[in-house]
Symmetry: C2
Subunit: 496 residues, 2 copies
């Protein structure tokens, strides 16, 4: 095979890249892309250079990060379990067709697998579509489930801000035909509980409804076939000022200036139950049946939120749009409002009602109403990591209770015998993998990894049938009868 | 685009399939493959039919399966933590190059991602190669870590026997320069502990050493460049009788009949430390320095296994080969020996020493010796599921302690108020998402999902400031002062 010369390649590849990604790519990103391409083609000298890295937009978790991750997951899972959820799991890839037509303009971000013969597959883009596929496939009409797993998006990564191409979602969904707004309100209660418990600073949960958006578009004179595309433009309001959003509506999407201005008036409105009541009286908005249905539900929602004691953080915000195609009713998004040390981390949870999605998979189109919420964990990790970094407290990455050590040489066999006793009794114990480790290096290992106790063996201790138990923090040492050792270790580490 | 006619396609595709997969494909599998192809091309009438399924060789886990999976994971993770392991995580895909040249003949089973511009990526095939890449990338020279995650292999699935294309591996590895055979022995201790605790019936752990295999090949007259390919043929001895293995060696791999026969004699040998001693005296085997080094280490290993109290299940077995390229020393594999209800599930754990793998990633080739074990969880799930199915005990899929119910109409608000009190106090509680649910259907839900308590509200209870607490199992009902409710629920569910 002949290889195209690199310099020539730049000439024809550059315009292609610029054409495709015009809006989002900076010059730096252009350069990065070309360097990547260069590396793939073998660099300047045509010689191949192996790059030791993870795939773009992904990362490893080291033991410290995993300890933080475990803590966050435990908080979230406890909350989901407190609300009575079961859990399921689905494969990391789905038939490509399963994902087709579910994500609107975001579909271009889906990772496809190579056609190696057999089925055409794609990595999951979220956990909602696989959940709907699962319900339809198993003919399940009601379930309350959580699902914590990684999803994949070929987006422009911004790893310092917690935006990755592989990231966790923690989803909680309620499927079933129930009375209006009760499960919807519980989802918001859950977001409130989790964000409060994680102690990430102040937050706000924005609420809106697809029917209110659609009704608003209708009464503002947006043509029917432009609802979805105008909706994704509105969705950019959290990243762009209104003037730019308006420009995109008028110049790119061909909306009349008048319609855009009317939308601009509505999307600046924020409030609570009172705003919903006012809009129900609004001479224009009240012309749309859809909008009225949505506004009545917002009122009902707020009445339940009052009972759940979470109205302090919830705002009815007409600028909230959310890009995904499948939402049919209420939508929401939680944002942290306390500016962090660095830049704002943006949305940390989002969700809504999607009553039509399961029906898209059912051969007879039978619908299963669903509402759910997804916690975006990576941004939360970023904040927790920064916090741990700043704090003086050391993060332990193991749970070892005791180190089996020796003060003299030639005691490997005795150490292995003792550590076996401890393991068999369920004690978390370590031993150094050396024939004759120095006592100092054994003690140092305990200091470094936070192991609280050392069980020290010597000729004398073996003769006396005892073990010298050393408390690492205080350097206190006492002889314990070998038969009492496990209960003594348990006693001393149970309060920790 | 024109579409090839399906009938024509059969004619040319059949021989290709047969050629590629000759040995392992049955007629049924051929038919399945062709039907799949047919579905992709749009079926007989050329009309597209969406298929509601998961990708071939993958499956969903329902809540009951997840409850079992959680139990198995907890057992395994406790064991890893008892032995002082930290945990890490790596992305589901790696640069394609990272996986290249690590898996020998199995490389054809790697899933590649589609080239969508950017890097060429593949799904991870195991957790060992990503671990080695992680060590080299972060210049880590010693660590004891576990990693539980899914891996991907485009193998022929046999789902009833627990063989999937997406499956979990639970890996424990020790990296670092240590004294011989101590970490290796701990890996076997861990396998012994986990398989004993999971209570899957009797098991055996086979042990061998790559150096013994290579030495054996050398003294039996296998040419150097055929070691690896003969090794993969020996690896098939657990699935094929010796006669077929010999035929493959002689007819396909071009080995002399005499050499094959000599190999046949060795690979029938099984024993313990005594066998290692005997082979060290063997006039032929003792000519290989490599074999002698391996045999001495097997002896040392068994002496540690005695101290760890696990020799009852460990067998030195010269037929054990393991297909992967990266092993350099001891190798092992655990099999369940009690024939289950259905067919044998085969190997449930395996591992070995791979001292060269990290060096393959290091720019300067610096080596980090490693030894590890991987628990094959899917087969264990299959057995546990069968057991749960056979047992009378019901598997609970939620942990709900109490259901907040009402006996009369129009008490939705009061139910929501009470469930909020309980959630805020950390009680796991549910409420029906209906304005006026029947008391009977509320109680039925408790029966079905194993919720032990019901907190019943009625007009009278509200007036009296009490809640009627019902014990589902006994139907006993008592009035509890509202202020005492959470402590009473906690008291009654803490013993469970």
């Amino acid at each position: 095979q002949t290889k195209p010369k690199f310099d020539n390649l730049i000439l024809f590849s550059l315009p292609i890249f610029l054409g495709k990604c015009q809006k989002t790519l900076t010059i730096d990103e252009e350069v990065a892309k070309l360097l990547e391409l260069k590396a793939r083609l073998g660099g300047d000298d045509g010689k191949h250079q192996f790059v030791l890295k993870t795939a773009k937009g992904t990362r490893d978790y080291n033991p410290k990060q995993m300890a933080i991750r475990e803590k966050v997951f435990n908080t979230i899972i406890s909350c989901f379990k407190r609300h009575g959820a079961e859990t399921i799991d689905t494969p990391v890839f789905e038939l490509k067709e399963t994902l087709t037509g579910k994500y609107g303009e975001d579909s271009k971000l889906i990772y496809d697998l190579k056609d190696q013969g057999g089925e055409l597959l794609s990595l999951r883009y979220d956990l909602t579509v696989p959940f709907a596929r699962y319900l339809a496939m198993n003919k399940i009409t009601n379930i309350k489930r959580y699902h914590i797993a990684k999803v994949y998006r070929r987006d422009n990564p911004a790893m310092t801000r917690g935006r990755y191409r592989e990231f966790y979602q923690c989803d909680f969904d309620i499927a079933g035909q129930y009375d209006a707004m009760i499960p919807d309100a519980e989802c918001l209660k859950i977001v409130h509980e989790i964000l409060s418990e994680l102690d990430l600073g102040d937050f706000r949960i924005k609420v809106n409804d697809r029917r209110i958006l659609d009704g608003m578009f209708a009464v503002c004179g947006v043509p029917d076939d432009k609802f979805r595309t105008i909706c994704s433009t509105v969705d950019k309001l959290d990243k762009m000022p209104w003037e730019d959003v308006k420009k995109e509506m008028v110049n790119e999407k061909g909306l009349s200036e008048e319609a855009a201005d009317q939308i601009g008036e509505y999307v600046s409105m924020q409030g609570g139950m009172d705003l919903a009541e006012r809009l129900l009286q609004d001479h224009k908005m009240s012309q749309s049946k859809q909008a009225c249905a949505g506004l009545s539900d917002i009122k009902l929602l707020f009445s339940f939120l009052q009972l759940f004691q979470v109205t302090d953080k919830v705002v009815f915000d007409l600028s909230l749009a959310r890009g995904l195609d499948y939402y049919t009713g209420i939508i929401y998004e939680a944002v942290l409002t306390q500016a962090g040390e660095s830049v704002s981390v943006g949305s940390v949870a989002g969700g809504g009602r999607y009553d039509g999605l399961v029906g898209m998979f059912d051969p007879k189109g039978r619908k299963v109403p669903c509402v759910g919420v997804s916690i975006g964990i990576e941004r939360i990790f970023s904040i927790m990591e920064q916090k741990a970094e700043a704090s003086a407290e050391k993060v332990r990455t193991t749970e070892v209770q005791v180190m089996v050590a020796s003060a003299q040489k030639n005691l490997l066999e005795e150490r292995l015998r003792l550590v076996t006793e401890l393991w068999n009794a369920g004690i978390k114990a370590e031993v150094m993998y050396k024939k004759n480790p120095k006592l100092l290096s054994q003690l140092q290992h305990c200091e470094e990894s936070g192991i609280p106790l050392v069980a020290i063996l010597g000729e004398q201790e073996l003769k006396d049938g005892v073990v010298k138990l050393r408390v690492v923090a205080t350097r206190e040492e006492i002889d314990i009868a070998r038969t009492d050792l496990t209960s003594e270790i348990r006693r001393r580490t149970s309060e920790a």
